[in-house]
Symmetry: C2
Subunit: 298 residues, 2 copies
């Protein structure tokens, strides 16, 4: 597949995701309007939409209708967006810049940021539970359950808690992986699961391959994030760079060194592609996504 085909697909998914999110978020003229404005501020107009891209890429493999995948993509992206809002708050990472804009608690206030995150999480589940999203209601419940597990104490929120406990600690490579499997990996895995569950082709071997792929991609995403955090300057990244190292947070770069971290990323990319193995051309967007994640500059 040519790079141009992938770029076009990526832009089309990013564009339809923006539209779907704008439609899913409560309108500005609805009470409480300030909260709704802040929710839209937190979600719209930014981000590379990596999780929606993964959901749509997996949906292609199971022949899902893109309109259906939009809903799953919105759900995972809303969870991601809420986690950024809470993570940026003064009691967590205390960041003032996100995607080149003031963070929600800076633009509004701490209480509003707290409620924005809370309401975005509720909205994610509400969207995913709307009856009739897919014909098989039992499978739709499974999607909701996956999102719950991925977001909670054994997933993303748990990863944040492990992260808090690991500041200033000398942790092992295994412990670092446990943290990332929770913090970033769980929601990336859920993005692929939810996208795949949207389609009618529910072949167990294919689903197992997609799951293996998503686990590698989740870790890969974090390793590349650590590399970028070490390399990039604030202007390129759109967030305060080098912050993890300054905050004395363990990263793959501080643990392995820059070169070994890069080698590990290449290994994870190869493993991810191997997991997709014999799947036909319908998995090509996922293959291209793996490469995109390694070579991204954001």
């Amino acid at each position: 597949m040519s790079g141009a085909i992938f770029s076009d697909w990526m832009r089309s998914i990013q564009s339809r995701t923006e539209t779907a999110l704008a439609n899913a978020l409560p309108p500005l003229d609805l009470t409480p309007d300030r909260l709704h404005e802040a929710m839209r501020y937190a979600v719209l107009g930014g981000g590379k939409r990596v999780r929606p891209l993964l959901a749509h890429g997996a949906g292609l493999v199971t022949a899902a209708a893109p309109d259906t995948v939009d809903r799953a993509a919105c759900a995972v992206e809303l969870i991601h967006a809420y986690s950024l809002v809470h993570d940026d708050m003064p009691c967590m990472d205390d960041d003032s810049l996100r995607r080149g804009k003031p963070t929600v608690h800076v633009e509004y206030d701490d209480a509003t940021a707290l409620l924005v995150g809370d309401a975005l999480q509720s909205l994610a589940f509400q969207l995913l539970a709307e009856p009739g999203l897919i014909p098989d209601a039992a499978r739709q419940l499974k999607m909701v359950e996956h999102l719950g597990v991925a977001s909670g104490s054994r997933g993303m929120a748990g990863g944040q808690a492990i992260d808090l406990q690991s500041v200033g600690q000398n942790i092992s490579r295994e412990a670092l992986e446990v943290m990332h499997v929770h913090k970033t990996g769980a929601l990336i895995r859920a993005s692929v699961q939810l996208g795949a569950l949207c389609g009618p082709t529910q072949d167990p071997d294919t689903l197992a391959r997609l799951d293996q792929f998503s686990k590698r991609i989740g870790l890969l995403f974090q390793v590349v994030d650590d590399i970028l955090d070490c390399e990039a300057d604030t202007a390129t990244l759109g967030k305060t760079a080098g912050k993890d190292a300054r905050n004395d947070k363990p990263t793959y770069v501080t643990l392995l060194g820059l070169e070994e971290a890069r080698r590990f990323a290449a290994e994870l990319e190869a493993d991810a592609l191997a997991a997709l193995g014999p799947l036909d051309a319908r998995a090509d967007m996922l293959r291209a996504l793996a490469s995109y994640i390694v070579h991204r500059r954001f």
Copy 2:
């Protein structure tokens, strides 16, 4: 029905809710253990479990299996518990005492309190989505959707946002009602809806009556809360009393005066009972609950 029968039922529901919550919460030996400990601290060993009582009361009307209602009851109680944890945080009400114990951010720290709330919300949806909770998966999705709406920006979180905006404002009785319909009313309504949806008897007229009942009860609960906040001392209430008035928050007592607030509570109780109207003795626990909510001392 005698008061003793109601008291026994109430104690049995409170006890089985405590057990169900303890089983639903992640065990202490699971990573991240500190987060799981804080989640259990936030949820277990306290509270009158009004929402679980309403869910079980409604479940009686639709002949639901109590084990099934336990799950719905846990879901609404986890949402309630998370809202208390976030509401008590320094950037919101900044409360240090809850149910006679230090609040989560005091006992642990702000970041942990934030994550405890986030993870409790995820867990609520995860529990409710577990496939097979009721035989009708489409109806179970409706339960999840109701909980999403009740928790989000058009429900509880939205009510908190309206509350923030109304501090120090002279608001009308109508505006106060809009706030409470969102802040407390939505989740109380969902408690009744979810409990009712657990049962096999899904008669539309009965469900409509239960819904009317729950709307009155939601408002009643808040009016009584305002009366108690005005009357009670810290020892009786187990939380810092008179705080709303000191924080310059509008209440039914500041708006109507104590006597008129009491009269309004009596009117709401009568309306709630009238909504149940012709329903048979299976609705008696809900009838007794209405009276209990008016005469409670917590």
